[in-house]
């Protein structure tokens, strides 16, 4: 069993790590305070292929696979979670749904621009009345001639205010409900009737714009149906499954950052006449953090390997997201405690990490949903089918 990363993944990590340290880290505080990332930086990341990293080169991506993408998300989230989230939503779920189930023609029309970052994508699933109960979506798509008319609202859409393209799940057959009668549409922001709302004021991830999007009889041509009519729910669930792996990688980066910061601080800070690294309470905290992170690391990259090898991964993906989000929250919280009052200061990056990390237990499928997914997979293996 060889646990080493392949040469291209090692080289990729090195390049991304450097980029993050040189370009993202110095700007991270400003991104949080001004609630925006410098468009020049986003353009740069586009040129380097970050926006399409996992997708095949034929489709305009970098061909780095799920493993390469996990490396990207880990390194980005270690330094600037806001920026990581922009890419996470754009690449990990929005563009991913197109990559997984889009027709060659549809892919050819949109993927190249999405991969280069020329166009930003958003994933439109959640609605004011439909969060964990994704099947409760109500946005309607009515067929009239050659076009569908979309009417309703999507809420808490990451990249909503800046998206050029939105993958929207709408109910096409109310009789069958979302599970059997929903379709994914690729909607362009200039189309009449599409109105992104004001950016939400959130606890963290300030640089990642999120908003409500209102669809007021938006006309969407038939050609922009993604996948098959009526099977949209399956497409989106499939996409969310794979998105969980890289989200787990992102949380790994956040936890890693907390550990690194703590190691530097316990050496520098002296109380009672010696560096606090010498105190057992601190040592135990560090050991616990490092152990959890190591376990998470193995889980994430093994799951990425399952994806890249074409093996089943749904259960493990849920575990990545579940364990990752909770580990990151715990580690960052512990790091805050280790840093004392400094950790609480807004001039020090830790409190930003703390605020940024919390959402991971909620979005892209709450941890409760993850537990249901994992239990469902487990029980299926012994012949028990549970209905969420």
């Amino acid at each position: 069993m060889d646990f080493t990363f392949s040469p291209e993944h090692i080289a990729l990590r090195r390049m991304i790590h450097e980029f993050c340290e040189e370009e993202l880290r110095p700007r991270a505080r400003q991104v949080d305070r001004e609630s925006r990332q410098d468009p020049q930086v986003l353009r740069w990341m586009g040129e380097l292929g970050f926006f399409g990293l996992p997708f095949s080169q034929e489709d305009g991506g970098a061909g780095a696979g799920e493993t390469g993408y996990c490396i990207l998300m880990e390194e980005l989230n270690r330094v600037c979670p806001s920026t990581a989230t922009i890419i996470g939503a754009h690449t990990g779920i929005a563009s991913m749904s197109l990559y997984l189930d889009g027709s060659p023609d549809l892919k050819q029309r949109y993927l190249p621009d999405l991969c280069s970052g020329k166009k930003i994508a958003a994933f439109g699933l959640t609605e004011p009345n439909a969060g964990s109960d994704a099947a409760g979506i109500q946005l309607r798509a009515t067929l009239e001639g050659d076009s569908y008319y979309l009417d309703g609202q999507k809420m808490w859409i990451t990249n909503g205010p800046i998206a050029d393209v939105i993958m929207v799940l709408a109910v096409t057959d109310p009789a069958l409900g979302a599970r059997g009668g929903a379709t994914v549409f690729v909607v362009e922001k200039e189309w009449d009737g599409l109105r992104p709302g004001k950016p939400e004021h959130k606890m963290g991830l300030h640089g990642s714009p999120t908003s409500l999007i209102t669809f007021d009889e938006v006309r969407v041509p038939k050609e922009n149906v993604l996948g098959q009519v009526g099977l949209g729910f399956v497409t989106f669930m499939k996409t969310l499954d794979i998105g969980r792996v890289s989200l787990g990688a992102a949380t790994l980066g956040g936890a890693q950052a907390a550990l690194e910061a703590s190691l530097r601080w316990v050496k520098a800070r002296s109380q009672f006449g010696r560096p606090i690294a010498n105190m057992q309470s601190i040592q135990f905290m560090l050991a616990d953090m490092a152990t959890e992170i190591e376990a998470l690391r193995s889980l994430v990259y093994r799951t990425a390997w399952l994806v890249d090898s074409g093996k089943p991964f749904i259960k493990e993906a849920g575990m990545c997201k579940l364990m990752g989000s909770e580990t990151a929250s715990r580690c960052i919280d512990r790091a805050l405690q280790i840093h004392g009052a400094l950790g609480y200061s807004r001039d020090f990056p830790l409190e930003r990490g703390w605020r940024d990390a919390r959402i991971a237990e909620i979005f892209e499928g709450t941890n409760e949903i993850q537990r249901i997914v994992i239990a469902s997979e487990l029980l299926q293996e012994i012949g028990v089918r549970i209905r969420p």
Binding site: S6, P7, E8, A11, L12, F19, L48, A62, G63, A64
Partner: protein
């Protein structure tokens, strides 16, 4: 134009700790990175031309450094790898590179980093220039090509002949400097008699082909685009490998003139040493340390 860049890997300083007390270097993570100033040299080359050949001497770390260069944008990479080069010093490397240059179609310019973090190799550039019979410019901040010449912005260090100032009533034609070549042979590194050192930057011109060392941090090195990086690292044949025999190097060529005799370490850092004496004496102590930085 065809530009060569010589680059080297160095042991990543983030992966080792020097223990002055134990007089040892403790390597936690044996990681190699590109010598930082070589990245500036590669960037300078890529800004000037699309045809850039990266060159290195060594083993696996050097091969990886060359792959990195290919991923960043170099169109070709050549590695000279041979067990006989294990203890190569600057003079041996110069000979190797001197033999390599003719293998590369029409190289116009050779760039390398002005500083090498982990070896006594800043001398490589001027040595190679002397061996090839090319002019050498040291520490360029920016490089431009104009016709058959190359211009560099650099801080000259008495290595450049300045046109002699015109004497007030003499014939302008004669004011270009001594006429008899035997009295003032033209050289690359001669004195500029009476030239004063300025702190400012100067624009230096040289004929091509030339060797130029690129100053540290003189530009912002580009990153390797994801797709290119993946392709370079998945391919097998991105670095061409030559042996000493391929270059016709004899045992005499490979004999170093300098031998490594191990490492030595600075004294342990004594923190909190108080400067004693009168204010003037203290000022003297501080100036001492400042001057020797």
């Amino acid at each position: 134009m065809n530009i060569l860049v010589f680059l080297r890997p160095i042991l990543d300083p983030a992966g080792f700790i020097v223990n002055r007390k134990a007089q040892k270097v403790f390597v936690n993570r044996e990681n190699y990175i590109l010598n930082p100033t070589d990245k500036n040299a590669l960037e300078a080359a890529l800004r000037l031309s699309d045809t850039v050949t990266a060159v290195s001497i060594g083993d696996a770390p050097a091969e990886d450094a060359l792959r990195q260069a290919r991923a960043i944008g170099a169109s070709r990479a050549m590695l000279v790898r041979d067990a006989a080069l294990k203890s190569a010093d600057a003079s041996v490397m110069t000979t190797v590179l001197q033999r390599l240059v003719p293998h590369l179609d029409g190289a116009d310019l050779m760039l390398l980093g002005a500083e090498v973090v982990d070896a006594d190799l800043a001398q490589l550039g001027p040595r190679l220039a002397m061996a090839l019979g090319w002019p050498f410019i040291e520490g360029a901040q920016e490089i431009f090509v104009r016709g058959h010449g190359v211009h560099a912005i650099t801080r000259p260090r008495a290595s450049v002949r300045r046109p002699a100032p015109a004497p007030p009533f003499a014939d302008r034609k004669k004011a270009r400097g001594p006429e008899d070549p035997a009295l003032a042979p033209r050289t690359r590194g001669g004195w500029s008699a009476g030239a004063r050192q300025t702190d400012g930057f100067h624009q230096i011109e040289a004929d091509l082909p030339a060797v130029i060392s690129v100053a540290r941090d003189s530009n912002k090195p580009r990153y390797s685009p994801g797709a290119r990086l993946v392709n370079v690292y998945q391919a097998n044949d991105v670095v061409e490998i030559l042996t000493a025999a391929d270059l016709g190097l004899s045992e005499a060529d490979l004999a170093p003139l300098t031998e490594r005799h191990g490492e030595s370490f600075p004294p342990e850092r004594e923190l909190g040493k108080v400067a004693e004496g009168s204010l003037d004496e203290i000022a003297g102590r501080v100036m001492d340390v400042i001057r020797k930085r």
